[in-house]
Amino acid sequence: MRILVVEDEKKVARFIQQGLEEERYAVDVAQDGERGALMAETQIYDLIVVDVMLPGINGFELTRRLRAARVPTPILMLTAKTTTEDKVEGLDSGADDYLTKPFAFAELLARVRSLLRRGSLEKSTTLTIANLELDTITHKAKRGTRAIDLTAKEYALLEYFLRNKDRVLSRTIISEHIWDYNFDTGTNLIDVYISHLRNKIDSGFDRKLIHTVRGVGYVMREE
């Protein structure tokens, strides 16, 4: 899952980025509203975290601009403003959720998970297919009774597949959702990661879950 953080306070942006990355998300940071808007309009994100008080265009304007440009990505607004009017303006501008500073980091993560769930039919924090289970809070995966150890990228890849069951995912789409802005799509890194993931979840089981769609990409489905 790829997240854009638009925050001008460098230290705030830094710890949010670090914390989200530790939770296996791919994170990009924009330091001002203009740059944030540009990134959100040209890249694909699963969630955008926006600070309200930004130099240039502020968080409200940024949200309105993205909604006007039909960017459907969930937006979580962060702000030091605590009045009801500010919350109302934030939500009315098109934000999906609102968090006031200073916030508990655990709450930020819970809200991020909640917003990521919102787009999918799966409302549980545990994603499943066949006898494969993935806990999005503890990041633990198991197939049947066998626990599976995943690296950060493998986890991200598996979560993305599980959130998009039965959908054929191209390498481009996968790279856009799992890797951050600096990822070089010229390499076969995605195929390498997918083969690692296959080894961990499919080897030793008759029912394979990850399938290659020749010339297009991959799909996760129960046969």
Partner: protein, 491 residues
């Protein structure tokens, strides 16, 4: 008045009605009096004229009618109706005829005058020689003595009715002409009645007219009251719809709106200030909380912990500085700051400042130059003056890139101490030079935070300058540098 009427409208109507009532009574009384007077005088005059006419007609011919024979209207009337033509007249007859002719003339005269004019002629012994037909058998009586040759008028009585009688006494006869007063009285009574009837009508008209006028005049006031009552701190952007007239109400509305506008702007300033203060205080708190919580989520290396502690300590220092500055400004606003004024040698203060400035500048490799340091002494608060100078110098160092220069100079000019700080920094866009003294205002927020500023230093500097009746101004050229000038009066 022992009670107070709480509405201007009621007060207006009360006074208005009182005025109308007074005017009406005065007017009514005066017109009643003068009408009565002039009608009475008219009557008296006409009676006097009448009695004179009768006298002037009869008196020269008195011998003709002095026969002692009484003439009644009935006889005259009969004789006038039956002139008995062709009958030979005796001497006595001719005398009688002459007398007849005199009385007939009088009779004819009475026919032309008003019906109720009574004429009576008596000889000096009081025997009535002639009485007009309308008197019947009554006679006009006057109580007072009747003067000779001059017509006098008095009120008498006839069949119990008051009557005005003009009388004159001559050699041969006493002449009376009377007219009943009843007619005049009736007229005056109806005039009185008209006033009596008109009074409540006029009062009603004045009360309702007054009410309508007061309503018309005061409705805008009520409207203003209603609107003004609805305006609270939350909707100060509303105004009272202005009236396009330059009358009392128009001016009141304009004054009200002006006051609301000033309140609005001062409320907005306070609101903006507290929003800014809240943001400035919350940001370090967000960082401290976020970094610590994140650090606690999993085990870190000692280097990572050290980095986090240093970073959070930095934020705590920033919080402390913001709070100190806010408290200073709060004291300044409340006017509770206790200034300690004494003679301050600015020259030694600048020398002291130079040392601190060099320490601050060293880290960035900025060169500090003291161009001039004239001996100037003013009366002021030494600690605050030091803070003022240091804030300006610190500001100059912050916004000057590495390797730049900051020049200081202290001089006296036109009775003022002039302290100038010139830098080779990034400068300030012209449209922002006034705003930089506003609280929490920063030309470039991101850059200022990196430099550790919260946007309060210059506000405090200006407060200190103003506390010393001085000024602080800035000239700047973007990308070239700024010059801050502090002027403090020596006396």
């Amino acid at each position: 008045m022992t009670f107070r009427i709480r509405s201007i409208r009621a007060r207006l109507i009360f006074w208005y009605t009182l005025l109308v009532l007074g005017t009406l009574l005065m007017f009514g009384g005066a017109s009643y009096y003068y009408t009565n007077k002039s009608l009475s005088e008219n009557l008296d005059n006409s009676l006097r004229n009448e009695v004179r006419w009768v006298r002037d007609y009869i008196e020269p011919q008195a011998s003709k009618v002095k026969a002692g024979k009484r003439y009644t209207e009935a006889i005259i009337r009969r004789k006038a109706k039956e002139p008995l033509p062709g009958i030979e007249q005796t001497a006595e007859d001719s005398l009688e005829a002459e007398a007849d002719e005199v009385w007939s003339h009088i009779f004819r005269h009475t026919l032309r005058s008003r019906k109720k004019t009574y004429i009576q002629i008596a000889d000096n012994s009081g025997i009535i020689a002639y009485r007009s037909y309308n008197l019947g058998t009554d006679s006009l009586v006057v109580r007072d003595s009747i003067p000779m040759y001059t017509a006098s008028v008095a009120t008498g009585e006839l069949s119990g009715e008051p009557i005005r009688v003009a009388a004159v006494r001559e050699k041969n006869f006493i002449y009376f002409v009377g007219y009943p007063l009843a007619e005049l009285r009736d007229l005056m009574d109806s005039l009185y009645l008209i006033f009596l009837l008109l009074l409540p009508v006029a009062l009603g008209v004045s009360i309702f007219g007054g009410l309508a006028l007061a309503n018309k005049a005061l409705r805008p006031v009520d409207e203003i009251t209603t609107r003004a009552r609805k305006i609270t701190a939350e909707n100060l952007d509303q105004t009272i719809p202005p009236l396009d007239v330059d009358d009392e109400i128009g001016r009141l509305t304009a004054t009200f709106n002006e006051m609301i506008r000033r309140l609005h702007s001062s409320f907005a300033q306070v609101k903006e200030f507290s929003a800014d203060a809240s943001h400035e205080l919350r940001t370090p708190l967000t960082i401290i909380r976020g970094e610590i919580e994140l650090a606690l989520r999993s085990a870190r290396t000692p280097e990572e912990y050290r980095e986090i502690l240093e970073s959070t300590l930095e934020e705590i220092m920033r919080l402390t500085s913001i709070i100190d500055n806010l408290l200073t400004l709060a004291k300044a606003d409340k006017g509770t700051y206790q200034a300690h004024f004494s003679e301050v040698d600015l020259r030694s203060l600048v020398e002291e400042l130079l040392e601190d400035s060099e320490v601050l500048a060293q880290r960035k490799g900025i060169h500090i130059r003291l161009l001039k340091n004239s001996p100037v002494t003013i009366v002021g608060d030494r600690i605050r003056l030091r803070q003022l100078f240091l804030n300006i110098v610190d500001n100059a160092i912050k916004y000057t890139p590495e390797g730049g220069a900051v020049s200081l100079s202290m001089d006296s000019e036109n009775g003022s101490a002039v302290f100038e700080v010139e830098d080779t920094g990034i400068g300030i866009p012209e449209q922002e030079t006034e705003k930089i003294f506003n609280r929490f205002y920063r030309v470039d927020k991101a850059r200022s935070r990196d430099l550790g500023g919260a946007g309060l230093g210059l506000s405090i500097a200006r407060w200190i300058a103003e506390m010393h009746r001085g000024t602080i101004t800035v000239r700047s050229q973007p990308q070239k540098g700024s010059t801050f000038t502090i002027r403090l009066p020596i006396n």
